[in-house]
């Protein structure tokens, strides 16, 4: 039984990998889309089964090539990985039905098979990061997903897409190389790359300066990938100019996987008494607070909705950093919960914005006046996603902010509590700006004849919007999984 579970966990990475080149050589755009959709659905099912297996049977370990760890590469999956993998695969399976029309509108026909091939490669990389238990393997998957996303972003319609992809390529490669330097330094001291083996061997050598340096390099490298303020500079441009589907996908998955990686590094790989003696947690609280406040302020002044939401993403990453910085079970649990909920709300919001772009061709604040009245369903999704972003009770956004505040109160971190509340107020302002333009401003003449978005775009959008409400009311499932995952992470050494 154990073996079959392991095979399933491996297939989660191999299926997108093997199908990506096949999709690339398919002759027709719709056929490519259909195969990609199938792969995404299969992956979501596999991820669901995997989580179910782990909740009922404990962690899964799989030795690639039959080489026993720590010498061979091991895939080691517990509740934390399985939870993140399900978020990634689930969001992808919802994004692909949406992709059909949106991609046909935004990307030249002959490039569409390549688009889906890159999309699957990116998925393969992200899922690989969540599955693997080998730190060099993480680097490889990090680069697979990153290279694919540079390509995806550059397919945007405006020429700024090229410069933002280039900017992301430079910063992303610097981040990955920093990670690689760190891994090399750690390897030189421990002689191992396996997560569990590293956790065993690091306590003996953690006083060495080399380990300190390696730790710093790894943390900065991953922080660049997760767009932690002030290393977020690549993110707003990349999200703004990428094709809409790519923005949805990256916003809901890529940064989440990086947050997961950061949690693993801080709580599983490096020994607690080492990490606590570095200023890393204070740093995360300070950068989290700065990120929430500054990025929210930036968001308020944006004229392009995609850009506004991108800055809001940076702010939301600030909340997650804050949760990590609290370094308690409650804090990490709130981070994991926010990971999931943020994927839901940003997914819904970017999808709704994508529907507007589909009809209007742009999403600048001064072009969308009055659109809410001619596109009521899209507008409804914007409202739900926006309320969730603000954190109104009854939405998913409220749940994670609530637990984050509880975690902060537990340590009497009053400033953090205040910042979370101020951040929500700032979110009211920028969400309000979108809603005001969409509904309350006098409709532009040109916008009156615009029709509601097609059903194929609305269905995934509303699935995510309703999920925001469902997980805002029924918190048993998400809180349960997030709690057991957080206990696993914090409890590894405590």
């Amino acid at each position: 039984m154990m073996a079959i579970q392991g095979h399933l966990s491996l297939l989660l990475v191999v299926v997108p990998l093997i199908m990506a080149p096949i999709v690339a050589i398919l002759p027709r755009a719709r056929l490519a889309w259909f195969v990609a959709l199938l792969v995404a659905v299969v992956c979501a099912l596999l991820a669901g089964i995997q989580l179910w297996n782990i909740v009922n049977g404990g962690a899964i370990s799989y030795e690639l090539g039959g080489w026993a760890p720590p010498w061979g590469i091991e895939y080691r999956i517990d509740a934390v990985n399985a939870f993140v993998a399900l978020i990634v695969a689930g969001i992808t399976a919802l994004t692909l039905p949406y992709a059909l029309l949106s991609v046909e509108k935004e990307i030249p026909k002959q490039q569409i098979p390549f688009f889906y091939a890159l999309f699957l490669l990116c998925l393969c990389g992200l899922l690989g990061i969540t599955q693997t238990g080998d730190i060099f393997n993480v680097f490889v998957f990090l680069e697979i997903s990153a290279l694919a996303s540079y390509g995806l972003i550059s397919l945007g319609r405006h020429r700024q897409a090229l410069t933002s992809a280039y900017q992301y390529l430079i910063m992303g490669t610097i981040g990955a190389t920093f990670f690689l330097i760190g891994v090399g330094l750690i390897y030189s001291q421990t002689g191992t790359l396996n997560f569990a083996d590293l956790a065993e061997r690091l306590p003996a050598v953690f006083e060495h300066k080399t380990v300190h340096t390696g730790f710093a390099f790894i943390v900065i490298g991953v922080a660049l990938k997760l767009a932690l303020f002030p290393l977020h500079l690549w993110l707003p441009n990349a999200y703004t100019y990428a094709p809409t589907v790519v923005t949805i996908f990256l916003a809901a998955t890529a940064t989440k996987v990086a947050v997961y990686l950061m949690l693993r590094i801080l709580f599983t790989i490096f020994p607690d008494n080492f990490v606590v003696n570095t200023p890393i947690f204070d740093l995360f609280i300070i950068l989290g607070i700065a990120g929430i406040l500054i990025a929210s302020l930036y968001a308020i002044y944006q004229m392009d909705i995609k850009r506004l939401l991108a800055y809001s993403s940076v702010a939301q990453i600030g909340y997650m950093a804050l949760g990590i910085g609290l370094a308690s079970t409650a804090g990490v649990m709130a981070t994991l919960l926010h990971l999931f909920n943020h994927a839901l709300m940003k997914g819904a919001l970017f999808m709704a914005v994508g529907a507007i772009i589909y009809r209007l061709g742009s999403c600048r604040m001064d072009n969308i006046n009055g659109l809410g009245r001619v596109m009521p369903w899209t507008f409804g999704a914007v409202i739900i996603g926006g309320l969730s972003l603000v954190g109104i009770p009854g939405t998913a956004g409220f749940v994670s902010k609530w637990y984050l505040i509880l975690a902060a109160l537990e340590q009497q971190a009053w400033i953090s509590v205040a910042v979370i509340l101020v951040g929500s107020l700032l979110a009211v302002v920028y969400v309000g700006k979108i809603i005001e333009a969409l509904y309350f401003k006098a409709a532009l003449e040109a916008n009156k004849s615009i029709k509601e978005a097609p059903l194929l775009l609305l269905l995934p959008t509303w699935t995510l919007a309703l999920a925001n409400i469902y997980f805002g009311l029924n918190t048993e499932l998400t809180v349960g999984v997030a709690t057991s995952a957080a206990q696993l992470l914090i409890g590894t050494i405590e």
Binding site: I170, T173, I174, L180, G184, S188
Partner: protein, 118 residues
């Protein structure tokens, strides 16, 4: 003096790393940035390879009469990293070609000027 000579491989690595990183940060020319990135990555390759050396060890190929071998694992890791580096460079250069076609220049400040005058 021993400290400096004994660790000469690290000095080479640090020098290359800083040279590469400085080029990436300071140059406005998009191609030069990629050259800098390559130097930066090459320094890491050398770091790994020099780590794997075992004193008096030969190359890790099995042959009678040799007992001590270098550690082959970092070599394999770096082979992968080199391939990643090649892919990054190719993609970066492809983007530069497209940027040149779209903007008519590959100087960062001129691109910024064009984007803001829109």
């Amino acid at each position: 003096m021993d400290f400096i000579l004994g660790h000469y491989n690290y000095w080479v690595v640090i020098l290359l790393m800083m040279v590469g990183f400085y080029i990436v940060i300071s140059r406005g020319n998009l191609i030069k940035k990629i050259v800098g990135l390559n130097i930066f990555q090459a320094s890491v390759f050398i770091l790994y390879i020099s780590l794997s050396t075992v004193e008096n060890g030969t190359i890790p190929i099995f042959k009678e009469g040799f007992e001590v071998y270098s550690n082959p694992l970092p070599h394999v890791l770096i082979l992968t990293a080199i391939v990643v580096g090649v892919a990054t460079t190719a993609l970066g250069l492809a983007l530069v070609v497209r940027i040149k076609e779209a903007y008519g220049t590959i100087e960062e400040d001129e691109i910024h000027e064009q984007d803001h005058s829109l």
